[in-house]
Structure formats: structure tokens, C-alpha cells
Symmetry: C2
Subunit: 189 residues, 2 copies
């Protein structure tokens, strides 16, 4: 549990009262490459915190999969809208490298928040950070060309390019794998 608390804490204060409960509710689990944490059609009942490894969320559209987001060490991840609304998810979550994750169920999180309302603020601040990230991603996708999007990613999130297969990155950028391969080829010269 060390990692979770030590990695949330630098940015967000966790009230001492809630620390212990938090430690008890998150459970550490090990997953192997290519395992699916959730599938399209299931309700996503867990929130994950990545201690080690990486995962991705993706949609399946007409047999093609399209990466939606990537998660690395110290990120929280879940199929957010399913987790919150308790409706069936439209996405899959796949383990990309063998990973060590901490899990908490929606019910436990609710319990935690109602017992320790002083955690609400921590959660709000985390949400703010994730909202801003998503907004940034959205606006980049909006007004940049494929090449610019790739170069931005290379500059701002090189770990994505280093650790995720090209095909995953291509759909994340909203382009075909062939186009990404060509862009990358161009860039080397």
C-alpha cells in the first residue's frame, strides 16, 4: 500500500483519520499482459491504481480497436462513466505489460467517502487534475494535424511511444497504423 499513499500524498493531502481505512480497502493484485480488467458490456465495479506496469482503455468499433487512454505508474484508472453511473461500459481495459495494481470497489469507495467526508476534497482535487488532462487531450485532437499530434506526444509523453505498440498509439492519435509508421519514418530524417 505504500506506493498508493506516498504517490497520492505529494499532490493531495489525505486526512490522517482516513489513512488507515484507505489502506485496508485497497487490495493489491497482479495481472498479466493482455488480461482484460473489464469488457464491453460489463459494469466496471473497480477503480485501479497502478503501482507498476501499464494498461489501456479501448473501444471496439466494427472489429477494430481504438485506444482511448493509457495508464502508467501512479495513475488511477477505471472505465469512468461505467464506474460512476453503474451502467454497462462501452470499453475494454487491457493490461499491456505485466502489472501490479491496487483495486477498490465502487461500494467500498462510497463507504469510505461517507465515513470520511473529509476525503471528498481529495477526490475533488484529483478529478480536477484528470478533467484538465482530458480537456487538453481533447483540444489537441481537435485542431492539430496527425503529424503535430504525434510530435506533441513524443515531446510530452514519450513513455507512451516507448512502451505502447505502434498500433495502439495510432488509434489513440486517431490515425491509421500505416500513417503513423510513415510519420515516424519522415521524422527520423
Amino acid at each position: 500500500m505504500h506506493n498508493l499513499l506516498s504517490n497520492i500524498s505529494p499532490n493531495f493531502k489525505i486526512p490522517a483519520t482516513a489513512r488507515e481505512a484507505l489502506e485496508h480497502m485497497f487490495v493489491q493484485k497482479q495481472f498479466n499482459k493482455n488480461e482484460l480488467l473489464i469488457e464491453d458490456g460489463q459494469v466496471c465495479r473497480h477503480m485501479y491504481f497502478l503501482e507498476q506496469g501499464c494498461i489501456r482503455g479501448f473501444y471496439n468499433i466494427d472489429g477494430k480497436d481504438i485506444s482511448q487512454w493509457f495508464g502508467f505508474e501512479n495513475d488511477f484508472a477505471t472505465s469512468f462513466s461505467s464506474f460512476i453511473t453503474r451502467h454497462a461500459a462501452k470499453e475494454y481495459i487491457q493490461v499491456v505489460e505485466d502489472s501490479t495494481l491496487w483495486c477498490i470497489s465502487r461500494d467500498q469507495l462510497d463507504e469510505l467517502l461517507s465515513k470520511y467526508p473529509e476525503l471528498e476534497k481529495t477526490v475533488r482535487l484529483i478529478y480536477e487534475q484528470y478533467y484538465i488532462r482530458l480537456e487538453e487531450r481533447y483540444s489537441n485532437a481537435h485542431f492539430k494535424t496527425a503529424t503535430e499530434r504525434y510530435e506533441d506526444l513524443l515531446k510530452n509523453s514519450p513513455h507512451i511511444i516507448q512502451r505502447m505498440p505502434l498500433g495502439y498509439v495510432a488509434s489513440y492519435l486517431g490515425i491509421s497504423a500505416e500513417t503513423l509508421s510513415r510519420i515516424r519514418g519522415q521524422n527520423k530524417k
Copy 2:
């Protein structure tokens, strides 16, 4: 103030203790068509609640403006990342129809939340809703063609098409005004 409370309340409970303070802190203001609530480079210090009218957030890229979001009656709106981080905004907020807005400053909101921590949960729930909306918007933009995106918008948010000029809608969908005009022409047949 009636509208704000009555329109938040159906979805979110506002603790009675905080009601009055909330009413005092939001100030009603009137804005005219084409006024800018904030400009690129300024810090956005206010959060707005739309009682009547509509507004949009847009980026200016190489002299072109690109709509980022639209706000209508009973929406909250601000240049979120600037409001939260207190850094300069990268976007403009423009009043599209003459509008009646309720405003609260960041400092007042902070004050409100520290005096009435029971509001944290309300804010968290509002954030969840907005996050899910943005995620939906993002994924649609990601894997649908221009025509599908237009048809989705027509189905799910016809008010946008009815109340926003075609040029604003086009950049919101990530396509040129000409392409949108052609799609719309096709659809009529």
C-alpha cells in the same frame, strides 16, 4: 438566484446550511451578444451559471477560431483549467445570444467550500457529470466520420445546431464550414 438553486437541486442536494451563503455569493449579470467573458492570455477568475442564453468557448489558432464547447440554460461554464490552476487561459469565452448569467469568483468559491465542506460532495458529483460528458464528446470525435458526428449532434443536441451559427458548429465538429454545409445539403435529400 432562484434558477440556480432550483436547477442544481433536482440532481444534486445542496445542504441547507450552505444555501444562503451560496445565494449571496452568486451575482446575476447581463451580457450582450458577442461580448467576451474572458480572452486568451487572461486568467479566468469566474465560474458562470447560465440562467438564460448561450455562450461558447473557443481557441484561436492562426487567426481561425475553433469552438471548444457550448453552454446553454442551466449549464455551468468557465475556462476550467485556467479557473482551477489560475494560469492564463488559452481560450476565449464569447456570449452568443444576449444572456443572463450568475457569476462567482474562484476566491469566493474556495471560501464557500472551506466554510461549508459539506458542499464538496455536491461539487464532486457535478464534476463527475461533466467529466462523463467530456469523455463522451472525446470518444465520439475519435472514431466517427464527419457525417456521423453531425448526425449524432443533430440527434443528441439539436439545440446546438438550432442556436449556434454553422461556422461555430463546424469547428466544434472538427470540420470546415464548407464540409458541414455540404453534409447538411446531402442530409436534406
